[in-house]
């Protein structure tokens, strides 16, 4: 633990709200679903690889949606793929998050005008938490997207009933 090492004689107790403790734990182990669609998947791989290194944020790839917390929709969502994405989303256990990576999955991107087979935004099939712009976004942009998601998780109140949330 670095600076706290060997400072105390007994074991200690910290007092913290249950919700913030849970949120703190969840935001620091965001396992994402390894699920590349198109060009952005290459940048997603680059972000996970040696130079940018997802692991230092506790972001680890999982191959099955059942083990994942976050789905990165990395690439163009086509009509044929849309129903499959919904199915993968439904297979994820709650609480679950979606990051839409790149212009294509945000809004159709360069395929917006004549793309007769391209879905104009993945938010038409699954709810999106963070949109990362770019074609394709730089690895730094995707990391920023994850930091934004962590911010969002910090303020969550999933344990309280809806009417008691102010």
């Amino acid at each position: 633990m670095g600076m706290l090492d060997k400072k105390y004689h007994d074991s200690n107790i910290i007092i913290v709200g249950l919700e913030s403790a849970l949120n703190w734990a969840r935001k620091n182990s965001l396992w994402y679903e390894q699920f590349g669609l198109a060009c952005c998947a290459i940048e997603m791989m680059a972000t996970a690889a040696s130079r940018y290194d997802f692991d230092r944020f506790g972001i680890i790839p999982r191959s099955s949606p059942r083990q994942a917390d976050v789905m990165i929709v990395a690439g163009t969502v086509t009509m044929k793929m849309a129903s499959r994405i919904l199915r993968l989303y439904e297979q994820m256990s709650e609480p679950r998050y979606v990051i839409s990576m790149g212009s294509c999955s945000n809004c159709g991107g360069p395929y917006w005008e004549h793309g007769y087979h391209v879905l104009k935004g993945v938010d038409k099939v699954v709810p999106v938490d963070v949109y990362v712009p770019g074609c394709p976004p730089r690895p730094e942009a995707l990391l920023e997207g994850f930091l934004k998601l962590q911010e969002k998780i910090t303020g969550e109140t999933i344990l309280q009933k809806k009417e008691s949330v102010k």
Binding site: E33, Q34, F35, G36, L37, A38, C39, A41, I42, E43, M45, A46, A49, S50, R51, P61, S63, P65, G75, T76, T78, K80, M81, R84, L88, P110, Y111, E113, H114, G115, Y116, H117, V118, C135, P136, R138
Partner: protein, 379 residues
Amino acid sequence: MIEVISKETGNKEMVINMGPQHPSTHGVLRLELVLDGEIITKVRPNIGYLHRCFEKYAEQMDDYAKVIPYTDRMDYVSAINQEHGYVIALERMLELEVPERVEYIRVIMAELQRIASHLLGIGAFGLDLGAFSPFLYLFTEREKILDIFERVTGARLLYNYFAVAGLMRDVHPKFKADTAEFVRTFRPKIKELNDLLSYNKIFIQRTANIGVLPEKVAFNYAASGPVLRGSGVKWDLRKNDPYSIYDRFEFDIPVGTGEVGTLGDCWDRYIVRVKEMEQSLRIIEQALDGMPDEGDVMEAIPKRIRPKEGEIYVRTETPRGELGYYIVSDKSASPFRVKARAPSFVHLSVLPAISKGSLIADMVAIVGSIDIVLGEVDR
């Protein structure tokens, strides 16, 4: 999962899906595998999950040059090579002279991109077979190439850098030194890769004698690129049908020899890619020596692109094989039709022929060894 009784053998057969969400299908490919126990009896590739309407876009754009960004997005792992074929096709249609400096920069960029593409292909292939660390080492090298690209073009993955008879902007003054430095540092890494992955015992056991593609089958399916060369055929469009200025350079065509197994197995296709990287380094070195220091890269770019009525087919060698552009012009400002002959699509059709009779666990190795990019398959 569906169980059916095979009419031929009377055995119980099982149909399972591999994909579209599977970490080893390199994108969104769905393979319907018909299994007899652990043996694959039939493979049906199911594509179309990434159909992005490239041909429709080419017809709808109001300028020939506006198609170039969409060619980037076809094979997004080797974007420069995709642009190269398209601009060469237009230059031949317009009968334009390309300045010397432009040609040299193009060749250097194309070969750097070839190395970057093979690094990703090899890294992902190793990753599929459980070798995680080579992937990280290779990506470190790939990032160095992307740094060079970023300084020149401003983008990391999709460049939109080549223009008809020119380039979008000139290279920066330190380009030559940067590239030479990369070539110098990258050469020893190939040896490191051979120690780490190529001659690794586990890797050889997973790839040797698996997915054997005989020469005759490769011809029948019109395979090209490393898939064809892995079967021992000396065929490279840079030598056999030279385009750009490739006829000025000295380089060899590496072919598979069946060194650790049968000729044309997964390992042969893999090692061809490794050896090709060395040859690309040779081409880059020669091109750096011959590149003129002076010259405007934008002087020959035409103001308007209006080719004569007619059609053209131009083929170039991309990291995946023969990429052909068939362009029909009707004298208007936009192409009447652009058809791309994608090597990945052709190689995907080889898959059922070479995976029949192999174990289900080897399917991942076979898909990885033909190195498809789904953006190019579906276009």
